[in-house]
Symmetry: D2
Subunit: 303 residues, 4 copies
Amino acid sequence: MINGIITPMVTPLLSDNVSLDVKHTKNLIEHIISGGVHGLFILGTTGEATNLSYKTRAKLIIETCKIVNNRIPVFVGITDTSIEESIALAAISKEAGAAAVVAAPPYYYGLGQIELFKYYWSLADQVALPLFLYNMPSHTKTNIEIETTLKLAEHSNIIGLKDSSANIVYFQKLVYLLKNKNFSLLVGPEEVTSQTVLMGGNGGVNGGSNMFPKLYVALYNATIAKDFQRIEELQDLVMEISTKIYSLGSFGSSYLKGMKGGLAALGIIDANIAPPFQSFEEKEMNAVRKNIEHIKSKLDKVL
Amino acid sequence: MINGIITPMVTPLLSDNVSLDVKHTKNLIEHIISGGVHGLFILGTTGEATNLSYKTRAKLIIETCKIVNNRIPVFVGITDTSIEESIALAAISKEAGAAAVVAAPPYYYGLGQIELFKYYWSLADQVALPLFLYNMPSHTKTNIEIETTLKLAEHSNIIGLKDSSANIVYFQKLVYLLKNKNFSLLVGPEEVTSQTVLMGGNGGVNGGSNMFPKLYVALYNATIAKDFQRIEELQDLVMEISTKIYSLGSFGSSYLKGMKGGLAALGIIDANIAPPFQSFEEKEMNAVRKNIEHIKSKLDKVL
Amino acid sequence: MINGIITPMVTPLLSDNVSLDVKHTKNLIEHIISGGVHGLFILGTTGEATNLSYKTRAKLIIETCKIVNNRIPVFVGITDTSIEESIALAAISKEAGAAAVVAAPPYYYGLGQIELFKYYWSLADQVALPLFLYNMPSHTKTNIEIETTLKLAEHSNIIGLKDSSANIVYFQKLVYLLKNKNFSLLVGPEEVTSQTVLMGGNGGVNGGSNMFPKLYVALYNATIAKDFQRIEELQDLVMEISTKIYSLGSFGSSYLKGMKGGLAALGIIDANIAPPFQSFEEKEMNAVRKNIEHIKSKLDKVL
Amino acid sequence: MINGIITPMVTPLLSDNVSLDVKHTKNLIEHIISGGVHGLFILGTTGEATNLSYKTRAKLIIETCKIVNNRIPVFVGITDTSIEESIALAAISKEAGAAAVVAAPPYYYGLGQIELFKYYWSLADQVALPLFLYNMPSHTKTNIEIETTLKLAEHSNIIGLKDSSANIVYFQKLVYLLKNKNFSLLVGPEEVTSQTVLMGGNGGVNGGSNMFPKLYVALYNATIAKDFQRIEELQDLVMEISTKIYSLGSFGSSYLKGMKGGLAALGIIDANIAPPFQSFEEKEMNAVRKNIEHIKSKLDKVL
């Protein structure tokens, strides 16, 4: 069972916006691990996986596993529209020493639920690492319906689901229907990690833990301890990050741009972002810097 | 400030499927009030408001206020595409003794946020009762964006928002941004009332409290008391209702049909439903009866 | 069989934005009839039907039928979420002398196709005038699927369908599957009336014929005559109206605001618009006036 | 300027469902060319491009160009979420002798229009072959708005747009606004090719021309000749294919499955389909065979 805070790692890029920045990747990983998170998830939505070439994806897998060196489990996103490419990424992950792979539904054609079920079952059969489902309907167009998840949970190689739908009714139904099933249920949006853990969820795959890993770990621990005064104090900081860092600039990519901008403001990586996106302009970067400063000074007081 | 469990009352209909069934309305109201809920909300989505004629809506407002007789506050849905009709319903509500009115965005044309803001501000100016916003984007097509809500919360006659989007990230942002503002934030989906109250929400407008008002009140009380053993016990029952009563039959209207079917199985009202919907067929009704029986026997043990 | 150009009439309003402006309604109807259109459709989407009170809707039906005085057939929109209100509007229409009624699907709850079929069949049974289906999925959320339309076309009182989906593949399938069935198929968007008539459609319900009825009639006639030089000349004017009058200001309501603004610029009605919308501000009105001027001078040369 | 019928070629696969079937690819290409089409488009939506590995995509490009051997122009889909992979596919296409490349928007993240514009401009700068835009909002989530297309049409290396939105109002606006601009506008859906060509479009990228290339070419020719008797005769056959081959089985993938099933019934390729899809079961295949038989016998009479 996977529990706790998993960091969906951003992918540090060189100034050509497409090549892996290995030096800053090392920086970032050390920063994250030092914050006490329970796992690292590379090549997810926050990791811009689909926007990277396969060469870059492979390099990131290998470098990350080398740097982490088994200190925490590494989860690798193998989401792809081609099952052959997903399987190839899984093989690289296995070879590199990753703990598990994570796959959202193929995202070009919309799928019927039966098609989706057959796809996942077949994928789980063909990868040598345990498989996490990843529900992300806003991006993939295909929701992994409750019934489909229940059937897939029967596969011995499918060990959990990360839900980034932000539909907590959906999540809560899964928590109820999969109780005592040895199946991990993690939420994407960091704004609701605490409450879903209070209600039986296993943890969060929270982007903000790239910047402030200690905060999300502390909030998780306070939640497990049911220390509500501490929860409120930390949740407010999580909400400040959410409303002041992720919503600058144009909608859609503002989360990604804010996250990389925030990490650049903290001096951990450069803010380069892969096409089709472009980094924040100076105006937004100034806002990010100012807000990060403010959040950091608050954080230093409570952590 | 409105806190607690508000019942979004179903509208009991005679066998012509369009006329108000006053006798069973009385039954239902007494049943709900005896369960200890904190308020009654008529003419909402669960109340099939838009499917009823204006004559029937007016009659329901008057009869309900008479039956309730100020024992608990009555909230009246005035959601309409015509502002004149909304204002007329508000006037009837005021006259009848209702406590507040509730309005979702006009739902035929999609609205821009500026149009939406101007609409709500003008409506709040023109109704004599306090106004609750009602976010229901799946039905109205127009989301009440965070920024719009913050600006509307400045109007002295706008006192809260009911969110039925099921997007708890949205709800949690409102809780954070409107903290200490004397603005009630209630959630629609009963599956997440407990967790949103734990994180600062004010309560739930929960359809299931038509059938089992004591359950939802007990869960709310356990949540306020942070009695997690009790929360888990009761939340499981809420989830059983959610997964076994609301998801029979065809998608979309299954919630409404299940709810009225459940109330009929309990002998509280007849299952008649207004066009464009049709009541469950015998097959689904049998499933409802069986599941209600099972839930009721469990409930009797814990309440 | 209904063929040709039907004008979906805007509803002239007084400066309170909610009351019918009878004087300008007369102006507008005479203007439209003098342009030679084949029918008048009131209380459609262009007519802001859902935003008007029932009193105003009833008044418009009665006044319009009186003014038209059987010179051309009058079609009345009875689209509503309450079937009782739809039936009441149909009775008023019958009494006033209208030729047929038009109904889009109920638009608050999304409907399954079986629910939709049963709804329409029952409605057709209960109205004394012939019924036109109206497909408008962007506003009603429910598409009238091909299969459903084919089954409904069997009802002796359902005489046609107006399609405003802009999905011409859908429309073309209906043309093919309902060939020789005595069932009228009209398109909403004026940009594609000519081409759909060339391929077997029966005509257009074209908003622009409020402003320039002669243009749309001339284009229809040229299309019937397969006079391609004339078609191109007139189609260019239709496209100029589409791109220069309907796309100013904010998306969604820009069509309505541009249409009423254009009619005001032509001196036919005032630009008042019902809530939740607001009329164009001066800046957009100036653009409308300038563009209308330009189009009018071109039109004067070719008509 | 590209005019006429372009075949969006399906990708023949071996029974492993992932490897290119070179033998049947040759069959299919000869069949298509013998039908007189004006161009061949590989690796589009009909070609299951996103579901194939990069190795298979590269192989298909090289084999196709070799087989075609410049008899007709070859267009290659380079749609991808990674710009590096798109550029790599363009380089292979150039080397192999293709005429142009075609790209839909990146399809994992939704893009803002400014982001989309910058992405396409940059892509057009970096590929050595002329670039066709490909609007496919149902699959990519991002519509290429009118304004964006107009600005992109200024790039000397962007030569046209294929629109598969089925929104013919959108298409007709582009035809009007890009008149005399040396910019090709082609539609995807074969049901509307004739009418869009009548109104100024340049042709169709019609999947059915995999099966019956002569039919679509004959319809195009009849359209250019404005031979309306012939158009009606042939359009009816196109509609019969549309309604009897593409709509069997489950929604979404039924088009692809029907197309490959139809080609198998004609003995041109095997029906193997790449994951995440699965070929039709025997029941649907029998329906396909029967319908193809019927269509073929009709076709033999008119062509």
